[in-house]
């Protein structure tokens, strides 16, 4: 399977290392499309409250990720859990998925190095 590339011909590895907000946004979109507030909520819940994206930080990151082709808009819809306002939804692209996978592998390699140097124990999930 050919590697996903951006319109400018960049490989997934060319986007590494990802910024914190970008990685968390991609992780939030891996399994489903979400609107902005749902992305923020997913990041907070998954990190058990340790990471809270501000709205300005979120949309600044989304702007750059849209330009880089890591995410794309998937239309507008109402979120019945909130109210009857239409919200713009975002989804991850194949390039975004490849970049997220590459970043996860990079971080996993860092964890292996930390374990080998006994900075962390093997019990860390």
């Amino acid at each position: 399977m050919p590697a996903a590339r951006s319109p400018g011909g960049k490989d997934a590895e060319d986007y590494l290392p990802l910024s914190g907000p970008a990685l968390h946004i991609l992780m939030a979109l891996v399994n489903q499309e979400r609107h902005g507030y749902a992305i923020m909520r997913e990041v907070t819940e998954r990190s058990e409250g340790t990471i809270r994206l501000g709205a300005g930080t979120l949309y600044g990151a989304l702007k750059r990720m849209l330009a880089d082709g890591l995410v794309e808009e998937s239309g507008e819809a109402v979120d019945p859990e909130l109210d009857d306002e239409r919200r713009r939804y975002y989804r991850i692209t194949s390039l975004g998925r490849a970049v997220a996978r590459a970043e996860a592998r990079r971080l996993a390699a860092l964890v292996r190095v930390a374990r080998s140097k006994r900075l962390i124990g093997p019990e860390l999930a």
Binding site: H35, G36, Y37, M40, R41, R52, G54, A55, G56, T57, L58, Y59, G60, L62, K63, L82, E85, R87, R88
Partner: protein, 130 residues
């Protein structure tokens, strides 16, 4: 001044192209956050709005830096960033005063807020006409 008006003022700190694309979503998302935050008293509300204002100031400054780098006007960038930061800081001070009327900061604080606002407006206007 209600929170809706304050939010629209804050969003005005962003560059025009960013506002045109994301202002509606920004306002919607901050309102969603506010709804989820609920009512917890003055101190908790102050903490919530402080985080919102700080995030807007940081991200708006970043967007202005990026926009100016695209157009390679560093002096104009510096003036605009400083001017907008002054205006945002003055807006935060006004918000604080409105949310905590029992905390009378005195005439000195009001004068300082007015001076910071004026300085920010002058820097921004000079940038616009430069």
């Amino acid at each position: 001044m209600n929170s809706e008006l304050l939010l629209r003022m804050l969003v005005h700190a962003y560059p025009i192209p960013f506002r045109e694309r994301f202002a509606t979503e920004l306002l919607q998302t901050i309102k969603d956050q506010r709804r989820a935050h609920g009512k917890h008293g003055v101190v908790a509300d102050l903490g919530f709005w402080s985080r919102v204002v700080l995030d807007v100031v940081q991200s708006a400054s970043r967007e202005h830096v990026l926009a100016a780098c695209e157009h390679r006007r560093p002096v104009q960038l510096a003036r605009l960033a400083i001017g907008r930061t002054f205006i945002a800081a003055a807006g935060a001070q006004v918000a604080f005063d409105l949310l905590t009327p029992e905390l009378d900061m005195g005439i000195e604080a009001s004068l300082l807020t007015a001076m910071v606002t004026l300085a920010g407006a002058l820097l921004t206007c000079r940038t616009s006409t430069a």
